[in-house]
């Protein structure tokens, strides 16, 4: 590659030469992620069944589909991923644009809570933003693996640009919560790829400055109201408890009411039901977990999520090449960020954002997508380094 000239098509597919070595490494830390994911999925089914037993059965079906999807994903070698990532990206972009088109009939894209973010597939709904997350991780990893550690600002243009494009399309739906998750994922991947510290610090500072600007100039009134509500809630001010802050306060109180060991099934069900917790089977499911299983149950969820993240990081540690390392870091970062944001908003630290708890919340799209990400991890983990890789981002 000649420096600073531009990108040739060949470069897009760099590193995809066939390598030898077919032996698989079954003892991979990626299984930590699998165990964590399984535990979370089961806790999710148990919590959903507390208030919505009919949905719990469906979630079980989705779980089976997810595990199947994960298994299929492991068959994809990193090489094939590096080739096909652009196709996946193209499909994602097309679908993201599709849901935004105004003339699409409601039977195909049903608005939910004012957002056009779901495609109706009959038996289930499919969220293009989930596919976009997978495409983003793969494509960014490929790009960075191809170009090497980004040492200049110019080198960051492409990954950041891709992120902005996808975020922009998702924000238009509008689905601010999902869009926001791209940012920590990108930052984690750039940090792992060796971006200069000063750029990272500058970016964080820029975000810190942009936040108040966004609050006053960019955010819509109801989004501002949500931020006002969480600030009041953190201060203990209950003035929004009856309207905008209702969801946040109720969730937080139910978590507190779980105590150390939780309540028995009847009582927990009564508490959740008569406190009218909204979205108790998806967004707010952690409150149900904590109410039913107490702090102990909540810790279990945290432990399982940590297990997923640690599994991802260790997979990155032991991965064979730069691409694989970055994919693993991306998967771990995405899942961990989503868990943190969701639990944060349930326990009264972050504003309500509409982000679900990975593996636990009800939702076929989300569950299958998350298991696919775990499948990617396993696919990376079981393929040991062959000794002929370039670019492991060690510089």
């Amino acid at each position: 590659m000649s420096p600073g000239v531009g990108y040739t098509p060949a470069e897009l597919f760099a590193g995809t030469e066939r390598r030898g070595g077919f032996r698989l490494r079954w003892a991979t830390p990626a299984w930590l992620a699998v165990i964590g994911a399984l535990l979370l999925s089961l806790v999710g089914i148990a919590s959903i069944s507390l208030t919505r037993p009919e949905l719990a059965a469906r979630q079980g079906a989705f779980l089976a589909v997810g595990i199947a999807a994960a298994s299929i994903t492991t068959f994809f070698s990193p090489r094939s991923l590096r080739i096909s990532c652009w196709v996946v990206l193209a499909i994602s972009l097309a679908l993201l644009v599709f849901v935004l088109l105004p003339f699409v009939p409601r039977s195909i894209v049903t608005p939910r809570n004012g957002a056009r973010a779901w495609i109706n597939l009959g038996a289930a709904d499919f969220q293009p933003s989930e596919l976009a997350k997978i495409a983003f991780i793969l494509c960014t990893s490929q790009w960075l693996a191809m170009r090497g550690s980004p040492r200049t600002l110019r080198a960051l243009v492409a990954p950041v640009g891709l992120c902005v494009a996808l975020v922009g399309l998702i924000v238009l739906e509008p689905d601010l919560g999902s869009a926001l998750l791209f940012l920590p994922t990108l930052v984690a991947m750039l940090v792992a790829a060796g971006t200069r510290k000063r750029f990272v610090i500058a970016a964080l500072l820029a975000a810190a400055i942009a936040a108040p600007v966004a609050y006053f100039a960019v955010l819509k009134p109801y989004q501002r109201a949500r931020i006002d509500a969480i600030v009041a809630q953190i201060k203990g001010d209950t003035r929004y408890e009856r309207d905008i802050g209702f969801q946040g306060w109720r969730a937080m109180r139910l978590v507190g009411a779980g105590g150390l060991f939780g309540n028995d099934e009847e009582h927990a069900r009564a508490l959740v039901r008569f406190n009218a917790l909204p979205e108790e089977h998806n967004d707010m499911v952690f409150a149900v977990v904590a109410c039913r299983f107490g702090v102990v149950g909540g810790m279990l969820v945290l432990l399982a999520s940590a297990s997923v993240a640690i599994g991802a990081l260790l997979t990155a540690w032991y991965a064979r090449d730069g691409f694989s390392k970055l994919v693993a870091v991306g998967v771990g970062a995405l899942l961990f960020a989503q868990m943190t944001v969701n639990i944060g908003m349930t326990i009264g630290l972050l504003p309500i954002t509409g982000v679900t708890l990975p593996f636990v919340s009800y939702g076929g799209s989300s569950l299958v997508a998350c298991w696919t990400l775990v499948g990617l991890l396993v696919g990376i983990g079981i393929r040991p380094p062959t000794g002929a890789e370039k670019c492991s981002f060690d510089g």
Binding site: M1, P3, R25, G114, G148, S149, R151, A188, V191, A192, G194, K220, P221, Y222, M252, R253, L254, V255, G256, A257, G259, L260, E266, H267, A270, L271, F274, N275, A290, V295, G298, M299, L302, A306, A309, I310, L313, A316, Y318, R320, D321, K325, V329, G332, A333, F336, T340, I343, G344, I347, G348, L349, P385, G387, E389, K390, C391, S392, F393, D394
Partner: protein, 762 residues
């Protein structure tokens, strides 16, 4: 090959290197996030656990409040004056009022007949046509129902339609303002994304509820409409309700006129209907809760949302005492609600029974109050301007006056029991009920909302003279047997000012009273005598004694609506001194100047004298507390002289309260009441100008304040009468006071003989 760094052989074994370090950095960031979450989790689940449990568990309890009934207000003898009474309201559903009921019933019937599939196959215009046709039948049913409602409610159909129109208007107003508020809120929150079409379709609660068309109907009416409600579903609703029942609110009465002054006397009683007996005193309740009520005693603690005080006020629906005794004794009358708590989890119920409110017993006798209130009805003519009040000149021509004959006078009557300080009657004319029937202009002039016995202040005039006497003797500046000469005018150098009321040099009247002792001076109401006493006392000491008699103070603890009266202030006295004003301090002795008091003050002051100079607070309510007595230290000689003077005033022919002069010169005694002894003082106090139309008229308020007891006995009751702008105290207020005394006797308060003489039944 890559540009930067050499390609390293990664054998897959754990190696060092910068990448691995960065992984560690990312892991650390993750650990920090997890720690924050863990800490918050522990804080919520362990530290704050109890608080959150309480907050969350309270939603598992469904509460239903049980109403408590409000206490009764009773009169002196136990008659119920105000009480809760269960009643029924008849309501109409909103859809019926607005005319939709017929359409929906027609549509439903057609659907049932044709079957739903066939109905849906018709075009909407076909359906509309069929419905229109069928509607007529239901319209007729509705009309019939409305006619029956009007008939049952004792109102015309036009009046019922008017009520329905009012409901429609009110609902439209409510719907409009609520929708405006919702649209404003939606726009503020969501900007262009606001979904306004949904708001338009929403109905406010008034459009979904039923509305009262016939309040407070009898049981039979309620049951009749309950049956109709079953026949015509969706139209009429019957609901139980509680009303405040005031049985004495409207009294039909026959006023005995056989002892009235001759020109208005009649052997036939006057049939009157009195509206609003004692309504100022009883007060009223309101169903609207004000922020002050919620602040003072909320039912729900605003901080926690839990029920703090079951007897507290509820924001949406409650009964609050608004005025009078209902308000002053709100905390006694108000009961404490009960509550049924149902645990939603296991379905168990627990019950706290409601505690009904306590009764309040008044000192007032409602029968006496009714008799006295009836005296103010125009049919009696007793409280109107009459010619006998002005008299006739020596040639027999009628004397004129500022107000026309037949003009109805407003005023007050207070009857006080001397021994206990209890108020037996406190009459205010006009009553609140009469005030409601007035036009705004009339109300602006007559002020029916004022409870005149305690809240209307008047200049006392000559009524104050017994108090001035007591003050002077108590201070030692005069002796009861000392003679003071009346020369017609007080100041040597000013023959036309500061005069006695019989001395008018300009008209050629130069009569004087000559030397008078205390009792005779009082009976003749000689001004010069009392100017002299005032001069000797000086304004400071005189005002101090007025204060001791209760002027310038709120004297009863039982009524909120009361005025203190007024006395000359320190500034007034200072200006007297600075301007070397020698007239004003002296005028205080005859009750003229910057002085006002209420009829209750007057009755109380006279009762104090009758008690030998012992002050007691007048009470309207019996609460079992012994009355506080304050001995003012007035020498017995003063008391005796004052009482003798008051006695002579009505019994001696020279007394100002003795007689009226009829046409032709005949005299008629004012207080020749069988079996009773009467003491009294007349007062004619200069009033503020009265506005009639565009002109202002100078008048006097007519006072009579007296004491009455059984013949040969001591004074038992004090009575104060004031008639606004009436003119001469003795001639206008005197007959009213006499009628009041007869009423008191007829109710049995002054012994059997007097009762029989007054025509009272046993």
């Amino acid at each position: 090959m890559t540009r930067m760094g050499e390609a390293r052989q990664d054998t897959g074994a754990r190696g060092g290197g910068r990448f691995d370090r960065r992984i560690v950095v990312l892991a650390l960031v993750g650990i920090v996030c997890l720690s924050v979450i863990v800490l918050q989790l522990l804080r919520l689940g362990v530290v704050e656990h109890a608080r959150h449990v309480a907050n969350v568990e309270k939603h598992l309890v469904q509460r239903r409040l049980l109403p408590a009934s409000r206490g009764r207000i009773l009169d002196r003898r136990g008659e119920v004056l105000a009480a809760d009474r269960a009643s029924w309201d008849v309501l109409l559903e909103y859809d019926a009022i607005v005319g939709r009921w017929a359409t929906s019933q027609a549509s439903r019937e057609l659907q049932r007949e044709l079957g739903r599939p066939a109905w849906l196959e018709l075009s909407s215009s076909e359906r509309a046509a069929l419905v229109l046709e069928r509607e007529e039948k239901f319209d007729a049913q509705m009309e019939q129902l409305l006619d029956r409602l009007a008939e049952a409610g004792g109102i015309t159909r036009g009046e019922l339609d008017r009520r329905l129109d009012e409901i429609l208007r009110r609902t439209a107003r409510e719907s409009k303002s609520r929708k405006e508020a919702m649209i404003a809120r939606e726009l503020a929150l969501y900007g262009e994304d606001a979904r306004l079409s949904e708001i338009d379709r929403e109905r406010v609660s008034a459009q979904l509820d039923a509305h009262v068309v016939l309040p407070d109907v009898a049981d039979e009416v309620a049951f009749y409409f309950q049956r109709l409600a079953e026949e015509l579903p969706g139209t009429v609703v019957v609901e139980p309700s509680t009303k405040r029942w005031r049985p004495w609110a409207q009294i039909s009465y026959e006023v005995d006129r056989s002892d009235f002054p001759q020109p208005i006397r009649s052997s036939k009683p006057a049939k009157v209907v009195v509206d609003g007996v004692g309504d100022h005193l009883l007060g009223s309740t309101r169903t609207q809760v004000f922020p002050e009520d919620l602040k003072r005693r909320p039912m729900v603690d605003p901080a926690t949302g839990a029920i703090a005080d079951l007897g507290g006020y509820r924001a949406d629906r409650d009964i609050v005492g608004a005025s009078g005794i209902e308000r002053t004794f709100e905390d006694v009358l108000r009961g404490v609600r009960g509550v049924v708590s149902r645990d939603l989890e296991d379905g168990l119920e627990s019950r706290v029974a409601p505690r009904d409110g306590g009764d309040v017993q008044l000192t007032v006798d409602i029968r006496l109050q009714s008799r006295l209130q009836a005296l103010f009805e125009p049919e009696t003519r007793l409280t109107q301007i009459q010619q006998y009040q002005r008299g006739f000149d020596p040639e027999g021509n009628p004397r004129g006056g500022p107000l026309p004959i037949g003009w109805n006078l407003d005023g007050a009557i207070v009857v006080l029991e001397i021994a206990t300080g209890e108020v037996l009657a406190a009459v205010s004319s006009p009553t609140m009920a009469e005030g409601l029937a007035m036009t705004d202009d009339e109300r602006a002039v007559e002020h029916p909302e004022i409870f005149r016995p305690t809240a209307a202040t008047y200049p006392p005039g000559s009524i104050l003279k017994p108090i001035v006497l007591c003050a002077a003797v108590a201070e030692g500046v005069a002796r009861p047997d000392e003679a003071i000469e009346c020369r017609g005018h007080f100041f040597e150098d000013q023959p036309d000012a500061v005069r006695c009321w019989i001395y008018r040099r300009a008209e050629g009247k130069t009569a004087t009273h000559g030397p008078l002792g205390a009792s005779e001076a009082l009976a003749r109401s000689c001004n010069i005598y009392f100017y002299e006493l005032a001069r000797r006392l000086g304004p400071e000491r005189l005002i101090g004694w007025f204060r001791r008699f209760g002027m310038d103070a709120a004297i009863t603890p039982d009524i909120a609506q009361q005025e203190e009266g007024s006395l000359p202030s320190g500034d007034d006295l200072a200006s007297f001194r600075e301007n070397r004003d020698r007239v004003s301090p002296v005028l205080l002795g005859i009750g003229q100047g910057p002085l006002t008091w209420t009829p209750l003050h007057a009755a109380q002051a006279f009762a104090t004298i009758a008690r030998g100079g012992v002050w007691m607070a007048p009470r309207f309510v019996r609460d079992g507390k012994p009355p506080e007595r304050v001995d003012l230290g007035i020498p017995q000689g003063a008391i005796d002289a004052a009482l003798a003077g008051l006695r002579a005033s009505v019994n001696a022919s020279y007394g100002t309260g003795h007689h009226i002069t009829l046409e032709g010169g005949a005299r008629e005694e004012l207080f020749g009441i069988e079996a009773l002894d009467v003491w009294g003082k007349t007062g004619t106090a200069t009033a503020p100008k009265l506005r009639i139309g565009d002109s202002f008229v100078q008048t006097d308020h007519a006072w009579f304040v007296g004491l009455v007891g059984e013949a040969g006995g001591v004074p038992r009751y004090a009575i104060a009468v004031v008639l606004e702008h009436g003119g001469s105290g003795g001639k206008v207020a005197g007959p009213v006071a006499a009628a009041a005394m007869r009423a008191l006797a007829a109710e049995g308060y002054l012994g059997d003989q007097a009762r029989r003489a007054a025509g009272g039944s046993s």
